[in-house]
């Protein structure tokens, strides 16, 4: 594989006060790769991906996204955030704005797109996630699955090069999980670089190139998908897989 490395984490460490959440994290992600991150609750999965777009600040090590090294400068942070989209467990749509406005806000005010273009773009992505007919509704009027798809469309409207997903289906009722995973699968097939924190193992097997298992703040196992499931080495990974599969 001689593809471009788009994310590189080097010896990243983070503490919450005394508590060591991320321990010497090394991670490289190549253009177009899909990475699944799993592990027990509290192992630092969310913290890890939130460090990539600086929703959390790391204290040691380097984070590089494409050509930008993440540091204290607002410029580097804003550059990275404009290239990295994020989808959250709780959707975090803006409840006071319609779905369409949720999608056009950042393109028009951050990317300074003309209103018409922003709306066309938003409708394009809302159609892609199959909720273009809900564009004028407010988030509170949508089902959980529709809200999460709207949140995906909102992130895509910034036309990011990389997408981060933090347990995008954990807050959903079972019958809605599929519609969200379908949208994510389409996105993966279209070549998006994705890091997904998820315990949906069927989804992982279908789309992931690599699976990362985290425990107590460290990456304890990192393998191509097939090997990860057929031949896990670490005891904790085995235990975890036996519980979840």
């Amino acid at each position: 594989m001689n593809k471009e490395k788009v994310i590189e984490l080097n010896k990243v460490n983070k503490w919450y006060g005394e508590f060591h959440v991320l321990k010497d994290i090394d991670l490289s992600v190549y253009q177009g790769e899909k990475i699944i991150v799993c592990g027990p609750s509290g192992s630092g999965k969310s913290t890890l991906i939130r460090c990539i777009n600086r929703l959390e600040e790391h204290q040691e090590g380097t984070v590089r996204v494409r050509d930008t090294i993440l540091d204290h400068h607002t410029q580097s942070i804003e550059k990275i955030r404009s290239e990295v989209g994020m989808v959250f467990q709780q959707f975090n749509l803006f409840p006071h704005l319609s779905i369409l406005d949720n999608c056009t806000l950042a393109p028009s005010w951050v990317r300074k797109m003309p209103k018409k273009d922003a709306e066309d773009l938003a409708m394009k992505y809302l159609t892609k996630v199959k909720i273009d007919d809900q564009a004028l509704k407010f988030p509170g009027q949508l089902s959980g699955g529709q809200q999460q798809r709207a949140a995906i469309a909102r992130a895509l409207c910034m036309e990011p090069k990389i997408m981060l997903f933090d347990e995008p289906t954990s807050a959903l009722d079972p019958e809605m999980i599929k519609e969200v995973l379908d949208v994510m699968t389409d996105l993966a097939k279209a070549g998006m670089t994705m890091i997904v924190v998820s315990h949906e193992m069927a989804f992982a097997k279908e789309v992931a190139d690599r699976v990362i298992f985290m425990d107590e703040g460290s990456i304890v196992e990192e393998k191509p998908t097939a090997q990860f499931f057929s031949n896990p080495e670490n005891e904790r990974t085995k235990l975890f897989l036996s519980q979840i599969l």
């Binding site: 607002t74 804003e78 959250f88 709780q90 975090n92 803006f94 950042a106 005010w109 407010f138």
Partner: protein, 350 residues
């Protein structure tokens, strides 16, 4: 049929249990002993005609007093031939507020912009005078017009200042954070009357001898700063009620601090605290009569002057009932306006 409905209604609403019955009976008793005498005094035996105190021969209210002094109560000692300038200013204000009910949301922003940035200038030019209009010094302003000028100035300036202070108090930059905390706690800790005396009497002593800031302006700024501390705390309550995810989402979309607050955080935070903001503004309106104590005559001050007039002694009750009615109407308007806003946004969310 009607009577039966009434009986049903009162059984459900007034006499549903023995203690409710007791409270209802007590309230009915209070109404019976106070309302008829008041109606008799205010309307039935009241005198409306005439121009002199001696025209009031009945035992009821002497509304002649209000009629004769009406212009002074409304405009203070503002020159009579220029009163249209005050009326025009308030007409512009009322029309633009009324217009905001009828236009689409997009234009409301422009109306808001007009009210905050342009209207104060127009109103000042009109009321104070320039461009060939006769200058009316602010010490001649008075009456209800002055009440409203101070209240509106207070509202227009304390609101943005309060919002900035609320944001400052939650800032991650220690300098801004502690400055905001000190500022808010300082102004909340002193009574308004102290602020008024300081603005009227002490502040000029601190200035270099050749600078002069108009007294009405000093008082208005004092009131605006004082109220901004309260607005700040109300808005902070709204900010605290927002889930952290809203910040995460805004940041992850690349919005910087100001865009995030302007588009995402403040609109939601302010909506949740509309009742608290309305409360603060109603309190502000009702606090303005305190300026009597620093020698300015807004409506209550003018009533005090009038009732001390040798020809009109003994008119205190009429004057104060009139003032109470005016303040009640104004406060009621503010509170129903806020309720309207609140309803509008609570349906939008659903």
């Amino acid at each position: 049929m009607k009577i039966k409905n009434l009986a049903n209604w009162s059984r459900q609403n007034l006499f549903s249990s023995w203690y409710n019955s007791l409270i209802s009976l007590f309230c009915i008793y209070l109404i019976i002993i106070t309302l008829p005498p008041f109606i008799d005094w205010a309307f039935l035996s009241a005198t409306f005609d005439g121009n002199l105190k001696t025209d009031c021969k009945t035992s009821g209210a002497c509304w002649v007093f209000i009629k004769v002094w009406f212009e002074k109560f409304m405009y203070g000692f503002y020159p009579v031939e220029n009163i249209w300038r005050i009326n025009l200013s308030f007409l512009i204000l009322i029309l633009s507020i009324a217009a905001s009910f009828f236009v689409r949301d997009k234009f409301k922003i422009y109306i808001l912009f007009f009210l905050i940035f342009i209207f104060p200038i127009i109103a000042f030019i009109l009321i104070h005078g320039s461009f060939g209009m006769q200058i009316v010094e602010s010490r001649e302003w008075g009456g209800l017009a002055l009440t409203f000028i101070l209240a509106i100035f207070g509202i227009i300036f304390s609101f943005p200042l309060g919002v900035l202070l609320a944001l400052g108090r939650r800032s991650e930059l220690p300098v801004i954070k502690y400055f905001s905390i000190c500022f808010i706690e300082f102004w909340r800790g002193i009574p308004l009357i102290t602020v008024l005396f300081a603005a009227a009497v002490m502040f000029p002593l601190l200035l270099p001898a050749d600078t002069y800031v108009d007294k009405t302006l000093r008082i208005a700024i004092g009131i605006a700063i004082f109220e901004s501390a309260y607005i700040a705390e109300v808005v902070r309550g709204g900010l605290q009620s927002l889930p952290k995810g809203q910040y995460d989402a805004a940041r992850s979309l690349g919005m910087g601090y100001w865009k995030m607050n302007f588009f995402i955080i403040l609109p939601q935070a302010i909506k949740t605290v509309i009742p608290g903001i309305a409360n603060t503004f109603i309190a502000l309106l009702k606090d303005t009569p305190l300026i009597v104590l620093v020698g300015m005559a807004e409506i209550l001050g003018m009533i005090n002057l009038a009732k001390a007039n040798p020809y009109w002694l003994g008119m205190a009750v009429e004057g104060y009932v009139f003032a109470a009615a005016i303040f009640w109407v104004a406060s009621y308007f503010l509170s129903s306006y806020s309720q309207r806003l609140e309803n509008k946004y609570s349906t939008e969310k659903k």
